[in-house]
């Protein structure tokens, strides 16, 4: 977590938002997307993370992946706080449609409606969706 302390970025700070739309397994987007979030934080940027659609499954508690021979990488989301990624949001409608609530999640998130997330997107400099 302190790997990047000696390597501080001295440039401008922009607002980066990462939109996670896909389930954690089935495709590599969630896993490789998380890497980008951590690197962006290491560059001292203003990072937000949003979980929408099946992306909310990425932060579902109690993932058991041995049956599909995939590494359960959901504990990595707990490292976000150590990288000072504190703006983490999940879409209310996506959680509700999947019968999920904040109690089902591996990290604390702020739950926002799709309209509120749209407003948040309006205020970003860079939006990347995985």
């Amino acid at each position: 977590m302190n790997d990047f302390e000696d390597d501080e970025f001295d440039g401008p700070i922009k607002k980066f938002m990462y939109v996670n739309r896909k389930p954690p397994y089935g495709t590599v987007y969630a896993l490789e997307g998380l890497e980008v979030v951590l690197i962006t934080a290491a560059f001292d940027q203003d990072v937000s993370m949003v979980f929408v659609d099946d992306g909310v499954f990425q932060i579902k508690k109690d993932q058991e992946t041995s049956g599909i021979n995939m590494k359960n990488f959901s504990p990595t989301y707990r490292a976000l706080e150590g990288y000072e990624v504190e703006k983490v949001y999940a879409e209310k409608e996506s959680l509700e449609a999947r019968g999920m609530s904040r109690d089902d999640l591996v990290i604390p998130v702020e739950i926002l409606s799709s309209t509120e997330i749209a407003d948040l997107m309006d205020s970003q400099d860079v939006i990347v969706s995985f």
């Binding site: 440039g11 401008p12 922009k14 980066f16 495709t27 590599v28 987007y29 490789e32 890497e35 980008v36 690197i39 962006t40 290491a42 560059f43 940027q45 400099d125 860079v126 990347v128 969706s129 995985f130």
Partner: protein, 119 residues
């Protein structure tokens, strides 16, 4: 305008790389600056010089190379994504370089916009 380009899909299964190529070329022709093109996920396969599609099909790997040659733009392939998929320096087509994800973040910082092409 200064543009960063992110290509997230390989050259032949998805149209993403074709669209990214045409977009990048059109932007350059209009006088925009391309900070760099960054290849991530299966997008790293755009750099594989062994790609050898039938002669009546477009060869995106070669098209990217010639675009880099013509306009001097940077084509950067993510090292971690490339290693996972067996792409190394020996396999890189002309104009491509392997580097870290920091290059993507920097493209977002330096560009007026970062434009993503993918699924």
């Amino acid at each position: 305008m200064k543009l960063g380009i992110l290509v997230n899909e390989g050259p032949f299964t998805h149209q993403a790389s074709d669209t990214a190529y045409h977009f990048t070329k059109a932007a350059l022709k209009k006088g925009h600056e391309i900070v760099r093109v960054f290849f991530y996920h299966d997008g790293v396969s755009n750099a594989n010089k062994l790609a050898d599609p039938p002669s009546d099909d477009r060869n995106l790997v070669a098209l990217w190379s010639s675009l880099a040659n013509e306009y001097g733009i940077e084509l950067i392939v993510c090292v971690a994504a490339a290693m996972r998929r067996g792409i190394n320096d020996d396999l890189l087509a002309k104009g491509f370089k392997i580097s870290g994800l920091g290059q993507l973040v920097e493209a977002g910082i330096l560009g007026d916009k970062l434009v993503t092409f993918g699924d």
